[in-house]
């Protein structure tokens, strides 16, 4: 394993069975939520993970946290394969792998006070008791920008942005080294989103936390990430350093995605052309043969429908899975241009 990588994901597959029948249920199909996905996350960085809803972003996050046990593949955390560990062996590691959920309205227990929500991990892992516990809870509230007098409030007494701060405090309570941020701002109002993004930025610097930042908002991902990974129907299609990906996207899907992001300036918008894709994303229940993107691709050519493109390094850590950049097809690629 390369030094500097906190997590290494190798050939991760997560298939969910689709069953039929009430008493004697049998498997009739499978949803390939993540299909042969490999990537790594460096220590201290933020890796942005983007893609359409249902493309497997959240599944990847949950697999890393072992909330889903993957069908196959390896997830190396500091060299240890999390998939091979038993639940008991995982328990101490869970302190270091935390999560912030998308919906601050649904991810907090409505019958817990703020103190219970933030303090529960401390109790479960036996970290702090009595005075130390209270002090730690108040410290955490302060870190995320909530006032100490709010400790006995219930979630419904907080606004959306404050609730997300509670969720962040809970994730921080055990001093994690890695946090999966699963669409942490998409449920929040525009004027609040920037507050939470800045908070996440500050916390990363203060506590040296590594983030996997899952989002479909490409502008926000560019702001917060060091590197960006793009997924499409269970497959990783492109990974690159942030500036590289936004300046020179290679995969046609990434290109379409970036062109579709509207820019809040009428003068700029009047000059831009949008790559409008045809049709809808395929279902992971029945993914297309060859490249998963080929039915919608505007640069599709012969091999795309039959051969699955591999994720290859095109130099400087810019990985792409597309036949356009495969020298084996370079002659037909020129024809396609």
């Amino acid at each position: 394993m390369k030094s500097g990588n906190l997590l290494e994901i190798k050939n991760l597959k997560m298939y969910f069975p689709v069953t039929s029948g009430l008493l004697l249920s049998r498997k009739v199909a499978q949803v390939k939520a993540a299909d042969d996905v490999s990537f790594s996350i460096r220590k201290g960085e933020t890796l942005g993970l983007v893609g359409e809803s249902g493309c497997g972003k959240t599944t990847i996050g949950k697999c890393i946290l072992q909330l889903h046990r993957p069908t196959s593949g390896e997830i190396l955390f500091e060299g240890m394969d999390l998939c091979k560990l038993s639940n008991n062996e995982l328990r101490p590691l869970r302190q270091r792998l935390q999560v912030i959920f998308q919906d601050p309205y649904e991810s907090l227990d409505p019958r817990f006070t703020a103190a219970d929500i933030i303090g529960e991990p401390l109790k479960i892992h036996g970290i702090a008791r009595r005075r130390a516990y209270r002090e730690r809870v108040e410290e955490l509230l302060d870190i995320v920008g909530l006032a100490p007098y709010m400790v006995n409030r219930y979630p419904h007494e907080f606004s959306g942005g404050q609730r997300q701060r509670l969720g962040i405090a809970r994730a921080l309570s055990l001093n994690p080294s890695f946090i999966v941020c699963d669409e942490p701002i998409s449920a929040l109002d525009v004027s609040i989103q920037a507050q939470i993004i800045n908070l996440l930025d500050d916390l990363q610097q203060k506590f040296h936390i590594t983030y996997l930042f899952i989002s479909h908002d490409l502008s926000v991902v560019r702001h917060i990430s060091d590197r960006v990974a793009v997924m499409y129907v269970g497959k990783m299609v492109e990974i690159a350093d942030r500036d590289e990906l936004y300046k020179a996207p290679l995969h046609p899907y990434t290109q379409a995605l970036l062109s579709a992001v509207p820019i809040p300036d009428p003068a700029v918008e009047a000059q831009r052309s949008v790559i409008v894709l045809k049709g809808e994303a395929s279902s992971p229940l029945n993914p297309p043969t060859g490249c998963v993107f080929h039915p919608r691709c505007f640069r599709v050519f012969e091999p795309c429908a039959t051969v699955i493109p591999a994720l290859v390094d095109k130099g400087g850590g810019h990985f792409v899975a597309c036949h356009l950049y495969d020298s084996a097809y370079s002659s037909s690629q020129a024809a396609a241009n």
Binding site: D189, S191, N198, A256, P264, P266, V276
Partner: protein
Amino acid sequence: MGALLQVRDLSTSFYTQDGVVKAVERVSYEVANGETIALVGESGCGKTVSALSIMRLIAEPPGKIVSGQVVFDGTDLLKLSKADMHKVRGARIAMIFQEPMTSLNPVLTIGRQITEALEIHRGMKQSDALDEAVRLLELVGIPQARRRAKDLPHHFSGGMRQRVMIAIAISCQPKLILADEPTTALDVTIQAQLLEMLHNLTKDLDAAIVLITHNLGIVARYASRVYVMYAGRIVEHGPALAVYHDPKHPYTEGLLRSVPRLDEPRSVRLAPIEGQPPDLIALKSGCAFYPRCSQAESQCGEESLDLVEVAPGHYTSCRSVLKGERR
């Protein structure tokens, strides 16, 4: 030039156990024939309630349209009888809702949900209506439309359902479409597809659109004029270019500054608007943005201003901006 729709001093309140929520307070806006305007603001700012008030879809109680006029094509919709309003709703004014899952009837086929409007408003026979429904479904890009017309909404993906909503909206060739966050629940590539389609279809119909959204990017792409709402009131409005390039209200300015932009160099830190949007029950007199405003003066907390024109067609309700203009 006579406006197609003129909303004048519209106020809608909800009477709850905890008090009166003034969801929309003396809101006025105009839409010309074939024009696209945008209502921008955060959740709870009254964008949707103002659209529902135009359609007279406010549940009463607890809600009530307290005052104002909604003049559409020369008639005040708020004065129409229920039966007359039925003839307007869905026929001459259509609405596209945010949640395509909850706004389609789960137990009626897609085809039936389109033919219903055609039979009621255009007096079509069942078989003709079905043919027309299939044509509309093809128009909005649903493959194998004749077969899919027999499917139920849950057989469709989110993007497909929103296509169906658009088909229903344009089925009676309305003059005005109220699009309430039409693509918020969808992915960017699907969002781009649908908005392009809606834009082109309405151009063919010469229909006007009121685009209700919190997404400043979408507004920049489609709207010619923008109304910015905060806490139930319009705080600024004007031509899109002017509002984006020279905002005349600190709230608009704050909103524009707080979103990262793909076309600009990445900033190290975002500039959020501090604080929270106000609780509409406990709204004090004075400017609602006062507690969060960086340019506030003590007078702002006591008394709010009406909209004043500061540039051609560009209005603001901000006291400190007005002072600056006069200087």
